[in-house]
C-alpha cells in the first residue's frame, strides 16, 4: 500500500479500490469547534437581543415556531396507507395522498367569523364567509371544530322508531334503506334549553337544488341528546341516517369537495362546499370516492356508508353549515 504523509495526517491507498480514508487533524477539529461555538453563541445573543428589544415580534415568532413544532402529519396513518396500497387495496394511492396531505391548522384561516350570528329565520345576518380552496384538504373541518368545543361526535345505534321531519326544496335520489333494530339513546331534547353558539334551529331557504344523500332511518336528530358512547348531554350538530354499510352516499347539491380526511371521531369524512356559503359534511363513511378539490354534482356518489370513527353502527352523519352556522339538516332530507 502507498502511504503519503501530510502534516499529522496519514493517507493510505488501498490497492485496487482507488479511494483513501481521510483522518481529520487536531488543528482542523479545533477550528471546527471554534466555528460551531461562534455560530451558536451568535445565535444565542441574537435571540436574547430580539426578545429584549422586540418583545412583540419575538412573541409572534415564538408562537409561529410553536405552531410549526406542533404541525405534524399523522406518520402512523401514512404508514398504514402505504401498507394498504402495497397490499393491493383499492384506492390505495389515493389514500396515501390523503394521508400525506393533511389539512392545515385552523390559524391558517383568516376569514373565520369570530362573533356568533344574531337573528334567525330565513334572513341570516351577514357573516364573513370562509372559503376552502381545492388544494387545502380538511380546512373546513378544522374551522368547523372551532364551533364545536368538546364535541365527541359519537353516534347512536339505529332504532326502529321513525321521526318526522319537514321537507322542502327539490329532492331526488333512491328510495328506502334497511331499517335496523336496537337501543336508541340519542333523541334530542326540546325542552327550551339554550342552543350553542353558531346553531340555528330555524328552517332556512337554500337558494339551490338539493337532494337527500342517503335514504335511511333517522336514528338521531339535530339538537341536545345523551351521547350514546360518553353518556353525557351533548349537542348533536347533524342528523344520523342509518343505512346498510356500503350504501352510496350522494352529494347534497352541486359543489366542490373541500376536504377529505379521517379522524378518530368523524372516521372517514368528506366536506363539500356549495353555493350560498353553504357546506355539508358526511362522516363515518366506509369509503370516500370523491377527490379533494373535485367538482361534484347534485346526486353524484361521493362516499359509502360505514361505521368508521366514533360510531356504533353503519350510518351517515350529515351536517349542514351556512356561513359558519349549523343548520338543522332535517328540513332538507327525506328519511325512513
Amino acid at each position: 500500500m502507498a502511504a503519503v504523509q501530510t502534516g499529522h495526517t496519514v493517507k493510505k491507498r488501498t490497492a485496487g479500490r482507488g479511494r483513501a480514508p481521510v483522518r481529520r487533524t487536531v488543528g482542523q477539529s479545533g477550528d471546527r469547534l471554534a466555528m460551531q461555538l461562534a455560530v451558536c453563541g451568535g445565535a444565542f445573543v441574537l435571540l436574547v437581543a430580539a426578545k429584549v428589544l422586540l418583545p412583540g415580534q419575538a412573541a409572534v415568532l415564538r408562537q409561529s415556531l410553536g405552531a410549526n413544532l406542533e404541525r405534524n402529519l399523522d406518520v402512523r396513518e401514512v404508514f398504514s396507507a402505504v401498507g394498504r396500497a402495497v397490499s393491493g387495496e383499492e384506492n390505495g394511492a389515493e389514500e396515501v395522498w390523503q394521508a400525506v396531505f393533511r389539512p392545515l391548522e385552523p390559524d391558517a384561516w383568516t376569514d373565520v367569523p369570530q362573533d356568533p350570528p344574531s337573528g334567525t329565520d330565513t334572513a341570516l345576518p351577514d357573516s364573513t364567509p370562509y372559503t376552502v380552496g381545492p388544494g387545502q384538504a380538511g380546512f373546513a373541518l378544522d374551522v368547523l371544530r372551532q364551533y364545536r368545543p368538546g364535541s365527541g361526535g359519537a353516534e347512536a345505534r339505529p332504532r326502529p322508531d321513525k321521526e318526522s321531519g319537514a321537507e322542502s326544496g327539490t329532492e331526488t335520489g333512491p328510495v328506502s334503506a334497511e331499517k335496523k333494530s336496537g337501543a336508541e339513546t340519542g333523541s334530542p331534547q326540546s325542552d327550551g334549553r339554550a342552543l350553542p353558539d353558531q346553531v340555528n334551529m330555524e328552517q332556512s331557504i337554500l337558494n339551490f337544488d338539493y337532494c337527500t344523500p342517503v335514504f335511511g332511518t333517522l336514528t338521531s336528530g339535530f339538537g341536545w341528546r345523551t351521547d350514546p358512547i360518553q353518556g353525557v348531554e351533548k349537542f348533536h350538530y347533524g342528523v344520523d341516517l342509518a343505512a346498510a354499510a356500503g350504501t352510496d352516499i350522494l352529494c347534497f347539491a352541486d359543489g366542490t369537495v373541500a376536504a377529505v380526511g379521517e379522524s378518530t371521531s368523524y372516521g372517514k369524512y368528506c366536506i363539500v362546499n356549495h353555493a350560498g356559503d353553504c357546506s355539508t359534511l358526511y362522516a363515518h363513511c366506509s369509503r370516500i370516492t370523491a377527490s379533494s378539490g373535485a367538482s361534484v354534482a347534485l346526486g353524484e356518489k361521493i362516499a359509502e356508508v360505514g361505521a368508521t370513527g366514533a360510531a356504533t353502527g353503519p350510518h351517515l352523519h350529515l351536517e349542514l353549515h351556512r356561513g359558519g352556522v349549523y343548520l338543522n339538516p332535517i328540513y332538507y332530507v327525506s328519511h325512513g
Binding site: F79, A81, L104
Partner: protein, 201 residues
C-alpha cells in the same frame, strides 16, 4: 460489535415518540432493525467494526476494503431487501402499518445519494464495470444532483403537507450530501449516515 448512540439520536427518538406515540416509534425501530440485520447477515464475519445511531439514522462501520465490489454490492442491497421481505410478511399478516413503514424505509435507502445504500450501490456498480474513478464520478453526479432535487422535494412535501418536522433531518442530510458531492469531497462526510448501513473504511 460496539454500538454508539449520539445524544441527538436520543433526543430525536424521544421527540418522535412524544409526537407520534411509542407504538409508531417501535414500528420504525423494528423496520430499521430488520434493515441492519439484513446487512449484518450478508456481511462476512470480521468486516463489521461497529454501529452508530445518530440523528440521521443508523450507520454500520465496516472494512469495505476486505470485500469485492460484487460482494459489497450484495451486502448493501441486503438491507432494503430485508425491508421488502418484512413488508411482504406484514401484508400477509394484515399488519399494514408495519408494512408501510418497512417499504418506505427500504425505498428511502435506495435513493441514489451517498451515504445511503442507493448512492453507494451506484458507486460500486459503476466501479465494478468501469473502474473506481468512473464509479466515484457517477456517485458524485448522482449524489449532487439527486441530493439537490431530493432536498427540494422534501421542502415541498413539508410545505404541502401542512408542515412536518420529521422531514428536516433527511432534508439536511440531502443538502449536506449534495454540497459534498458537488464540492468533490468524496467520502469524507461530516454529515452522518441515514437509516441504512453506511460503509466506511
Amino acid at each position: 460489535m460496539p454500538v454508539r448512540i449520539t445524544p441527538g439520536c436520543c433526543l430525536l427518538l424521544a421527540w418522535f415518540a412524544s409526537a407520534n406515540g411509542w407504538g409508531t416509534l417501535l414500528l420504525v425501530l423494528a423496520a430499521a432493525a430488520v434493515h441492519e440485520a439484513g446487512h449484518l447477515l450478508a456481511l462476512p464475519d470480521g468486516t463489521v467494526r461497529g454501529l452508530r445511531l445518530t440523528v440521521q439514522g443508523a450507520a454500520l462501520d465496516i472494512h469495505s476494503s476486505r470485500l469485492s465490489y460484487g460482494r459489497e454490492l450484495l451486502c448493501l442491497l441486503a438491507g432494503p431487501a430485508a425491508n421488502f421481505l418484512l413488508a411482504a410478511a406484514a401484508v400477509r399478516l394484515r399488519l399494514h402499518t408495519l408494512a408501510g413503514a418497512s417499504v418506505l424505509l427500504g425505498l428511502y435507502n435506495l435513493l441514489p445519494v451517498r451515504p445511503l445504500d442507493g448512492g453507494r450501490a451506484v458507486e460500486l456498480a459503476v466501479s465494478w464495470a468501469l473502474g473506481p474513478r468512473a464509479g466515484e464520478n457517477a456517485a458524485r453526479s448522482c449524489g449532487g444532483l439527486g441530493g439537490v432535487l431530493l432536498a427540494a422535494g422534501a421542502a415541498w412535501l413539508m410545505i404541502s403537507s401542512g408542515g412536518t418536522l420529521w422531514l428536516l433531518p433527511p432534508l439536511y442530510g440531502f443538502l449536506c450530501s449534495a454540497l459534498r458531492e458537488l464540492r468533490g469531497g468524496g467520502d469524507s462526510f461530516s454529515c452522518h449516515s441515514t437509516q441504512p448501513g453506511t460503509w466506511k473504511d
